[in-house]
Amino acid sequence: MAKIPEKTSILRTVDVNRSFGMVTAADNLNIEVGQGELVGIVGANGSGKTTFLNLITGYLRPESGRIQVMGRDTIGLPPRLVTKLGVARSFQIPQLYTNMSVLEGMLLSLAATSGKGTGIWKPLYRESWTAEGLDTLERFGLASYANRPVSELPEGGRKLLDIALSFALKPKLLLMDEPTSGVSIEDKFQVMDTLAKVLQEGEITTIFVEHDMDVIQRYSRRVLVFETGRVIADGEPERVMADPEVRKAVLGRV
């Protein structure tokens, strides 16, 4: 097992279990993620990667165990309240406001995180939010789309916007479910370069699910390998991937 960095713990799961009928999706998960880490998660389909994200965000409730975000127990909280604690997520299939402009989506995230999301009198378009929204879009390389409808974004842009919407929530922990799926191979590294830079600048602790080992090796210094709901390896990507058992689990071949 890899050493747990001696930084503040952002996420801690203790003996977390969850199954769906006969399928074990989370099998005694004990995972600790420290401040500032960029952790990749790999594993075959059905190995429990997305379940893990769903457990952290409160979308699914574990059958047993504890989940702590920055020392606070989150089990039983709905996704909305877990989000308020500082956990944001992006989705495998981007979840966007397709009938609005790109900027408006960003403004909604900023309104939400400032606690003024249900305000009924002052306008959404405020100078400070607009400036911040444009700035974030700039960082994600989406500035040129700011006033265009979301529906005009290309697939890579949709993925980035989905993450930008979560990023604008100023999370302490960002979960990304396959940020590069659906993005062409040529664009993959460009998307990840953009993300890695933004996340590093924002000092945001990140966990991301990824199929592509090249992406993991290039961007993260720690990888968790999932198989049938268990973590079978945890450590530096090069070391972990040298293990034939891991190679078999992830790639289906040694």
Binding site: R80, L81, Y97, L108, G117, T118, G119, L124
Partner: protein, 321 residues
């Protein structure tokens, strides 16, 4: 888009609304007043529709406002508009605050039918407790006063007062739709998951919208009570709610002026259709609705927008050449 076009169109419309009653016969002034108070209730229905929330029971609030006036007149002899409009708004708000606690949990067909159910409960109560409500006979309202002065009987007073209220209501709805809650409401129609994962309570958004819609229903009921001069349990009936939805779709709920446009066309269509086709006017209305849904689902507002867009482009093209 020409930035001046929007306020200019609104100014022209306002000027028309102010000047029109001076040149048309009295019975048309009455219909125009009806257009105004109907459009206020329809604005509430339209705002809900922006979030994908269809209600078949908005007459609940309309009748609440109307009967708030009825009881004030009957028991306290209060006829003062400046008291009764806030009272109607408040009674609509309180009703919505109670009913909304349940409604904020529902969407789609359940939302539509639960609203219907509540409005029918009120309808039943208004019939049943006839010693209080006057039963099927309803209540006579009499003439309103404004700052203690009786409004002229020819209908001008009610018209201009309603116009002023409609102006205020339009401003309030505009502010609401431009606010974070207004945008989250549109987002609700679009992607509820993302709202939840933004840390915003969807129920809060629905509840607040519902409060606004209920309040507008109450205000509309007050103006209706005085304009018509008589209130009946049918004010809470589902046909009344259906009328609001009809007008919302006819006018188009995508834009602020939709309810007014819809109410204008609806009231005059109804007047003339029932005059010239007394036995077939409902059929005429049905055909109109059919045409709107088939060819112009955005309603009259969308037609206007398209024309305006085309004119704007032509104007710009002219400048360039």
């Amino acid at each position: 888009m020409n930035l001046l076009a929007v306020p200019r169109a609104a100014l022209v419309a306002s000027a028309l609304m102010i000047l029109l009653p001076l040149v048309v016969p009295g019975w048309i002034v009455f219909i125009l007043t009806k257009v105004l108070f109907m459009s206020i209730a329809v604005m509430g229905v339209s705002v809900l529709l922006r979030g994908g929330l269809l209600t078949f029971g908005h007459a609940l609030y309309y009748a609440t406002g109307a009967y708030a006036v009825g009881f004030s007149v009957k028991w306290f002899g209060v006829q003062e508009l400046l008291l009764l409009v806030p009272l109607g708004a408040l009674s609509g708000l309180i009703m919505a605050a109670l009913v909304g606690l349940i409604m904020a949990r529902y969407r789609e067909v359940f939302f539509a039918m639960l609203n219907l159910a509540f409005s029918m409960i009120l309808f039943g109560a208004l019939l049943k407790f006839y010693w209080v409500t006057g039963g099927t006979d309803g209540l006579a309202i009499g003439t309103a006063t404004l700052l203690g002065i009786e409004l002229p009987g020819d209908g001008f007073g009610y018209y201009y007062f309603s116009l002023a209220i409609a102006g205020v209501v339009t401003l309030v709805v505009y502010r609401f739709m431009a606010s974070p809650a207004g945008y989250f409401l549109r987002a609700l129609y679009d992607n509820e998951i993302r709202i939840e994962y933004s840390g915003v309570a969807v129920r809060q958004i629905i509840y607040r919208t519902y409060l606004l819609a209920g309040t507008l229903g109450g205000v509309s009921g007050v103006l209706a009570a005085f304009t018509i001069g008589h209130i009946v349990p049918e004010d809470a009936f589902w046909i009344q709610s259906g009328e609001f939805v009809f007008i919302a779709l006819l006018g188009g709920f995508g834009g602020l002026p939709g309810p007014l446009m819809g109410a204008l066309v609806y009231e005059f269509l109804q007047t003339y259709a029932s005059k010239y086709f007394p036995l077939a006017w409902q059929m005429m209305m049905g055909i109109v609705m059919l045409l709107i849904i088939l060819f112009q689902p955005g309603g009259l507002w969308a037609i206007y927008q398209r024309v305006e867009h085309r004119l704007g482009r032509r104007a710009r093209g002219g400048e360039n050449s």
